[in-house]
């Protein structure tokens, strides 16, 4: 290899992968994760954004001034709950019968 490989310097569209999972999305009033976005304003590290494998959290990484959260694409991994140390998250599994269905796992 003559030139140094620049690995990973691209923006991968994770929605391609998410499109392959089957979801049964619950209504908003039963959202399994609730984000108190008021608390996000002074959050420098935004660890939920970087940790979430399903791009449910969008904020300054995509040029937004305000945290935009959507639970619909969530793969129910629990990462965001561990990443947010500011007490902005109420996390639970979706109600029985809702959320993702893996066919392989």
């Amino acid at each position: 290899m003559s030139e140094k490989t620049k690995l990973g310097l691209f923006e991968y569209d994770v929605k391609n992968g998410l499109g392959l999972i089957s979801y049964n999305v619950d209504e908003h009033e039963h959202a399994h994760i609730i984000v108190d976005t008021k608390k996000c304003g002074d959050c420098d590290s935004m660890m939920c954004v970087w940790g979430c494998p399903a791009q449910c959290y969008m904020f300054r990484d995509v040029g937004l001034d305000e945290m935009k959260f959507q639970y619909e694409d969530c793969v129910e991994c629990g990462t965001c709950f561990l990443m947010c140390t500011d007490g902005a998250l109420s996390w639970n599994h979706p109600r029985g019968g809702f959320g993702i269905t893996y066919a392989y796992g």
């Binding site: 290899m1 990973g8 923006e11 392959l20 561990l82 902005a88 019968g97």
Partner: protein, 520 residues
């Protein structure tokens, strides 16, 4: 036996731990219709994801309930007889491999002849296990999520599931973090934390049992909510890894020829390969991230990659230590970078991704297990109990889960006989677990977690391995020197590169790593 309860045992979660517990209870003579297994997935297995290789022959003991499991379970894909361990850096890949005739399990070898590892796809394995349990008479209820346990004498409407998992309005940060439940009446709090657990609450309806087995896996909400573990403890990201995975369809023939696999016969499933690698491939991503988000500058993402062959698909993914992730790097980009590494890309080329997913692994070992595994009327098993071992080359969680489920079942069966379900009687489970290979392994390898959390393994070590091998085997007209000299020269060169490497490859550090490495 207490005839007033709906079930002798209610098991929450039909993953590896829960299903094994139910099967062992049957073996101990507990009637199927006295056992209820509830799971939030529908069908069973729909929420489950592992790497994954199932190691060990734990299932043999459950052959009565899971007959011919190796051949008949559609999620047991290939047996492993080919293992690779690698070090990947941006430029190089140094991969060691072994192919073992004894792992074919057909005899005629000096080493014990046994098949002991299988690639598995959990959505498929788990629904088969559930089907067999159902055939044996166990009640299985899929699509039911439990978020409250029934506590003796406590009205479950006096608090809600959201109270257990939501930050309080006056929530602090870190150690001062408060949850809504912390503001409840002290009597309620005390009942939730210390009362006798005697059933589950489902949609406002109570189902009672003598014992509740919590087998809820790594997102152990009930375990923390009901104070087996402290919330603060449970919310820490230390020792937790996130696995991000794709299943890629290649077709059986391509896999057989590309990976040199045997195609299977009447007695054996097809054979397969399992590869894990330490990754030092995120330099460029990290540098860009550090410049954009100085808040975590200098933090090296510690990750490993894996690739396993299934029957007609590959499981490929990265495991990321969550406490190492710097701001500026998306976890899914880390998977993409691994997939596009020159040593990996050709292995998956021509394949079609059929599934994407992610799941947590509680890799913390003994350093961070829940405070207790037993309460009056309840036990915790499997991932919820933190029973996972990893040394970088393998993850073992499924076999430990199965084993913990069996041990719990044996104790529960005795408690059913004696009619005593106190934490003292059920506590025998913890003692048996301590005496079993599960806890002995975890104890013996306590330092492994430290070793795995050392930046060296994700920075200079993979680079050093790649460069060393490259220089020792190449012929580009340079003067040949001995391996020892080469190593010293390379170390000197690499230490010149930056301060961090200089320190990392310092003598003391090498000694420290060596000491830890010896104990793997």
């Amino acid at each position: 036996m207490d005839e007033e309860v709906d079930f002798d045992v209610i098991i929450i979660g039909c993953g590896m731990a829960g299903m094994a517990c139910a099967a062992q209870l049957l073996k101990e003579g507990v009637e199927g219709d006295r056992i209820l297994v509830v799971d939030r997935g529908e069908p069973i297995g729909a929420k489950n994801l592992s790497g994954g290789i199932l190691w060990g022959r734990e299932l043999d003991e459950l052959e009565d309930i899971f007959p011919n499991w190796e051949m008949d379970n559609p999620g047991i894909e290939r047996y492993i007889n080919h293992k690779k361990i690698g070090f990947l850096s941006s430029e190089d890949a140094f991969i060691m491999e072994g192919k073992f005739a004894s792992w074919d399990g057909i005899g005629g070898t000096e080493e014990p002849s046994m098949r002991t590892g299988w690639s598995v796809l959990r959505a498929k394995t788990d629904s088969w296990f559930a089907e067999k349990l159902e055939e044996a008479g166990v009640f299985i209820m899929p699509g039911i999520k439990i978020d409250q346990l029934h506590i003796d004498g406590l009205d479950h409407t006096s608090y809600t599931a959201r109270d257990l998992t939501s930050p309080a309005d006056d929530a602090g940060k870190g150690a001062a973090q408060k949850w809504r439940i912390d503001n409840a009446d002290p009597e309620i709090i005390n009942a939730i934390r210390e009362g006798r657990i005697c059933g589950i609450v489902q949609d406002g309806e109570v189902m009672t049992s003598n014992v509740v087995v919590i087998a809820e896996g790594s997102n152990s909400i009930l375990t923390r909510s009901y104070a087996f573990d402290s919330m603060l403890h449970a919310q820490s990201r230390h020792g937790i890894i996130l696995g991000v995975k794709e299943v890629i369809h290649l077709g059986e023939d391509v896999i057989n020829s590309r990976f040199g696999c045997f195609s299977g016969d009447d007695e054996r499933p097809p054979s397969g390969m399992a590869m894990e690698a330490a990754l030092a491939i995120y330099d460029d991503m990290a540098e860009k991230a550090w410049a954009e988000y100085p808040v975590t500058a200098g933090q090296v993402p510690r990750a490993g990659g894996w690739l396993y062959t299934n029957r007609d698909t590959l499981s490929i993914g990265v495991v990321i230590q969550l406490d190492s992730l710097p701001s500026g790097i998306h976890t899914y980009d880390m998977l993409e970078a691994y997939k596009s590494h020159p040593a990996i890309a050709p292995l998956i080329s021509g394949g079609e991704t059929v599934e994407y997913g992610a799941h947590l692994v509680p890799e913390y070992g003994l350093n961070r297990m829940p405070d207790r595994l037993v309460r009056d009327g309840a036990v915790v098993i499997g991932d919820a109990a933190g029973l996972v071992y990893s040394n970088g080359a393998v993850i073992q969680g499924q076999n430990y889960s199965i084993h913990s489920g069996k041990l719990a079942a044996k104790v529960i069966a005795k408690c059913i006989e004696s009619g005593d379900f106190s934490k003292k009687s059920l506590g025998q489970y913890k003692k048996d677990l301590d005496a079993s290979y599960v806890m002995r392994d975890l104890k013996r390898f306590k330092t492994t977690a430290k070793f795995l959390a050392d930046d060296a393994n994700y920075t200079w070590v993979p680079k050093f391995m790649g460069k060393m091998f490259n220089r020792v085997v190449r012929e580009i007209g340079e003067e040949k020197i001995t391996v020892e000299k080469q190593a010293l020269r390379l170390r000197k060169e690499m230490r010149r590169k930056d301060k961090k490497t200089k320190k990392g490859m310092g003598l003391l550090n090498l000694l420290r790593l060596g000491m830890m490495g010896r104990k793997l």
